[in-house]
């Protein structure tokens, strides 16, 4: 049996205000029902007004996913009753979403893959219901702070995929939405959530019943839930059982999918066009100007990094994981004093480690990309040694100084001039007669130790290669 998998991803849009009212979207940590108004609490007579920025974000996302943008699009009412749906309907897009027929290209296990995108549409988030107990009584509490937060729903084509690939799709989608700066990528806080659909079939055969696993909020959960579900369905079938179309949840601790409480009746959402919002018309020229304003997306950027800068595919991949890193790298490259490969190593190596340790993001560290370029340039020009470079970078990270300033302050400039090194070599030979003897007896490895002595004497500033050359000449 082969699995046919589709994802529905809900992503919150990084707008300042809600989808249809002026309430702030920054409700995280706020007391319940302090970020809502007549509109998002569904008071009688209140009307929605579309947040233009949410629409922009939707269009940009749809374009980044290679969707066709609808020249006329509209909102619909999705009717269902639940306490956290304050109007008794959710404003969504049903018949005419803003984007259709897209594609997301990404690499899975080093191989290029392409997933079809069925549609992308905008909708409002619901409030949040909590079932709890107050003074010994079971109660349900509703918080409308989240009600009306702009959401984008992205639906993929159902296709045969491996669970691991679904995980990478989710990661690639998150990466793109973060590149577009339309989503903060914070899975733990629910900024992106995935519902996965899965059915089994004999290759070329009829699709089995569809099982939906809702509300997965980690890459791992997507993969593990699918793996578990494929396994479970195969087991049920092997035992002569039947798969039912149903909605299941993911039990994170138990590492299994569990049936969700069956709904009392099948939902019929009775969609119809939202009369409170006029249809959206998006002109070709608007679409083109949105297209022109899109940033370079991660896959294209990593390919360019390999071609333009001679990086390895792995270096390019790591550098483009986050837009901030790639931007930082290119700012450093632009200074043109260090090699791109050297910069890639420093940025993904020591700088990434220091950044990670500081708990900050690349945008907020005190080290400017231009200064990193100068530092790497100094190492590459042998003005300082690599180990001195690491020392300098750490100092830059605390003080924000320019690399030259640190080098001068710590007196780390490499000894490169021949007469100084001559004197140094002569002293080393004089102070280490045993090593000289060992060398002359044919054990040429002893020169390593002599270079080490020279480095120590110079407090690491001597150019080890040049010292070695001078020693070799003198020992002949």
């Amino acid at each position: 049996m082969e699995p046919v998998i589709g994802l529905e991803v809900h992503a919150q849009l990084l707008t300042d205000s809600k989808m249809f009212c002026g309430c702030s979207t920054r409700y995280s940590g706020a007391p319940p029902n302090t970020h809502c108004c007549a509109v998002c609490a569904g008071m009688p007579g209140a009307l929605p007004v579309l947040n233009a920025r949410a629409l922009d974000f939707g269009i940009r996302s749809a374009l980044a996913l290679n969707c066709t943008i609808a020249t006329t699009s509209r909102f619909d009412r999705k009717n269902y009753s639940y306490p956290d749906v304050p109007k008794g309907y959710q404003i969504s897009q049903f018949e005419e979403p803003i984007g259709r027929r897209g594609r997301l290209d990404f690499s899975s296990d080093g191989q290029p893959v392409s997933w079809g995108i069925t549609r992308l549409h905008l909708e409002e988030d619901t409030g949040k219901t909590t079932h709890t107990s107050v003074a010994g009584r079971d109660v349900s509490l509703v918080d409308y702070n989240r009600s009306g937060i702009p959401l984008m729903e992205i639906v993929t084509e159902p296709e045969t995929h491996a669970p691991a690939e679904a995980r990478e799709f989710f990661a690639a989608l998150r990466q793109i939405l973060m590149y577009l700066e339309v989503n903060d990528g914070n899975l733990q806080e629910g900024s992106m959530r995935a519902d996965v659909n899965i059915s089994l079939r004999q290759p070329g055969g009829e699709l089995g019943p569809k099982v939906e696993i809702k509300n997965l909020n980690s890459f791992r959960a997507v993969q593990r839930a699918l793996e578990y579900e494929i396994d479970r369905q195969n087991r049920v079938l092997a035992e002569g059982g039947t798969i039912y179309q149903e909605t299941r949840g993911w039990d994170e601790r138990g590492e299994r999918t569990v049936p969700q409480r069956t709904k009392e009746y099948a939902h019929d959402y009775r969609y119809f066009p939202e009369p409170d919002l006029p249809p959206l018309t998006i002109s070709e020229s608007q679409v083109e100007s949105f297209r022109a304003s899109l940033p370079e997306l991660p896959l294209a950027r990593s390919i360019r990094f390999v071609q333009a800068y001679g990086l390895t595919p792995y270096q390019a991949h790591v550098l483009t994981l986050e837009r901030a890193t790639a931007d930082y790298f290119e700012r450093a490259v632009a200074v043109a004093v260090a090699s791109p490969a050297g910069l890639a190593n420093w940025i993904t190596g020591d700088l990434a480690r220091l950044t990670h340790e500081s708990g900050a993001g690349l945008q907020s560290i005190p080290v400017a990309a231009e200064h990193v370029a100068q530092l790497v340039g100094m190492v590459e020009q042998s003005e300082i040694t690599g180990s001195a470079g690491k020392q300098v970078l750490e100092a830059m990270f605390t003080t924000g100084e320019r690399p030259e300033a640190v080098v001068d302050r710590l007196d780390l400039r490499q000894m490169g001039d021949a007469s100084t090194l001559e004197v140094l070599a002569t002293e080393v030979l004089a102070e280490n007669p045993k090593l000289v003897e060992t060398y002359r007896s044919g054990k040429h490895n002893a020169i390593q130790a002599m270079v080490g002595k020279a480095m120590a004497k110079s407090k690491g500033k001597a150019n080890p290669q040049k010292v070695r050359e001078i020693l070799e000449v003198k020992l002949q």
Partner: protein
């Protein structure tokens, strides 16, 4: 009570001249409400505290000579328009104790213009009805004959104006709910073009059809009130951004050369012959004033009413879903959330509201959408095209507002179809989104007859010009029902 027998423009002149104060005007209105309400029941509540405090403020403005045409003018507001901190019940048990935390845009604009709100008027529950018998708080009685209905759903607003309790009241019109009661009570009822007046704060019945408008005794008064409430509102995405013309500037009595069409579909079987005769006389009067009049056709008129009863219940089904007992209004506990919903809605909604929710649910259900809702929207387009085509030839259309005069209370309440037919001539203007005004055109057996003037989108000035010219040459609008004189 004489003070309440004057028009808005006459009262405004008295107020501006300081011959009466805003407080006196408010007190006169509140007195008329107190005296008339036991028999007429036009008001669900009077708001003396609000009225008197607004009136005192209006007097200060007037004393500085800074008043506008509505400063100090008492006004009644249909109880489906949100008024901050004043209960807004929509004539429903479900909102009996609901107090809005905010003003509808129209309420805010009237406040800013200095009008004094004297009360909230009775209505069919959630504006669903044509007789006011669907109010959860009891029917309104027609001031011209207390045994008859005032029409609906803005029956309270129309009766209040007819009974000289206020010179102006706001109503709402989804399928005729301003014009039909205006016709039944001998008042002027204006349904503006869809989008001309903000719906923000109007509790929605059918969002693509609802429109707020004034009920007054003269076309000039309607123009004065429209001037204040019309205009784009950023809080209502369906409100039209077009500039608001000066509506009174066109009221010069001059309609010479205007081309008027009289749709033959509006004179069909089931119509009261006396109503037809009076409307034909009204048309003749307009011709006498210099307009050219032609019989013409709006071929899809016949389908407007049935499609209206698909579209409006569908929207109402969704609009009324929020009355679930969770956040505000009536809440009846249950063993679980589903029983709470059921108990709340069972107790909160009346029969007609439930009927329409069921109709709307059915029309949108899986498998029926294409046959009902989508088809109705297609027919709606045809109805709209009828008007577009007509307005290429005619400046306005003239027709009866209703097929009959006011019927007795109880006569149709058991027969929804008969009740729905009362709106057969008003619904098409809503389906097309065009503007229309009903004006008093005569009396049949002591009951008023209304004539409807339908105009192009945003041509309120045009239809008010015709209505005003008609009123300058007739006196139907000056006649008052005996009940209002008796109250005096």
């Amino acid at each position: 009570m004489e003070l309440m027998n004057v028009s808005v423009s006459e009262l405004a002149a008295l107020l501006a001249a300081r011959e009466v104060s805003a407080v006196e005007a408010a007190e006169a209105s509140l007195r008329a409400i107190d005296q008339g309400n036991p028999a007429i029941r036009a008001f669900l509540r009077s708001t003396p505290d609000v009225a008197l405090s607004q009136a005192r403020e209006a007097d200060l403005v007037l004393a500085r000579g800074e008043g506008g045409p509505l400063t100090g003018v008492p006004i009644a507001v249909k109880d489906i328009i949100s008024t901050a901190f004043v209960p807004t019940t929509c004539g429903s048990r479900s909102l009996e104790n609901y107090v809005p935390p905010y003003d509808a845009t129209v309420a805010a604009r009237l406040k800013a213009a200095g009008a004094t709100m004297v009360g909230k008027t009775n209505m069919d529950e959630f504006a669903m009805g044509s007789s006011n018998e669907n109010s959860a708080f009891g029917p309104v009685h027609n001031p011209w004959d207390l045994s008859r209905v005032p029409g609906g759903s803005s029956g309270g607003s129309a009766a209040a104006v007819a009974a000289r309790q206020v010179p102006v009241a706001l109503g709402t019109d989804t399928g005729g709910s301003i014009r039909q009661p205006a016709a039944f009570t001998g008042t002027v009822g204006l349904k503006p073009t869809y989008g001309r007046v903000s719906r923000y704060g109007l509790v929605a019945f059918a969002s693509s059809l609802d429109q707020i408008g004034p009920i007054t005794r003269t076309a000039r008064d309607a123009a004065l009130v429209l001037q204040v409430i019309a205009g784009h509102d950023p809080l209502d995405s369906t409100s039209v951004p077009a500039p608001v013309p000066n509506y009174t500037a066109s009221l010069d009595g001059e309609i010479h050369g205007l081309r008027l069409g009289v749709p033959s579909e509006y004179f069909q079987e089931g119509m009261d012959p006396a109503v037809e005769r009076i409307i034909r006389e009204g048309v003749a009067q307009l011709r006498a004033l210099g307009a050219t009049v032609e019989e013409m056709s709006l071929p899809h008129t016949h389908y407007a009413l049935s499609t209206y009863y698909i579209v409006s219940p569908a929207e109402a089904m969704a609009n009324l879903a929020r009355y679930d007992g969770v956040r505000y209004g009536l809440s009846v506990p249950g063993t679980d959330i589903w029983h709470m919903y059921r108990n709340t809605r069972e107790a909160g909604f009346g029969t007609e509201v439930k009927r329409r929710i069921l109709l709307g649910t059915y029309a949108l259900s899986a498998g029926y959408y294409d046959a009902y809702y989508r088809k109705a929207q297609q027919v709606r387009t045809l109805v709209r095209r009828d008007f577009e085509t007509a307005f290429e030839r005619y400046d306005a259309l003239v027709a009866p507002t209703t097929p009959t005069t006011a019927f007795p209370i109880g006569a149709r309440s058991g027969d929804p179809l008969q009740m729905y037919l009362s709106d057969v001539y008003t619904v098409p203007a809503n389906m097309a989104g065009v503007c229309s005004v009903s004006i008093p055109a005569g009396f049949s057996e002591g009951l008023p007859v209304g004539m409807q003037i339908i105009g192009k989108p945003l041509d309120e000035a045009g239809i008010l010009r015709i209505a005003d010219a008609f009123q300058r040459s007739t006196s139907f609008h000056i006649e008052a029902p005996a009940v209002s004189l008796g109250a005096a």
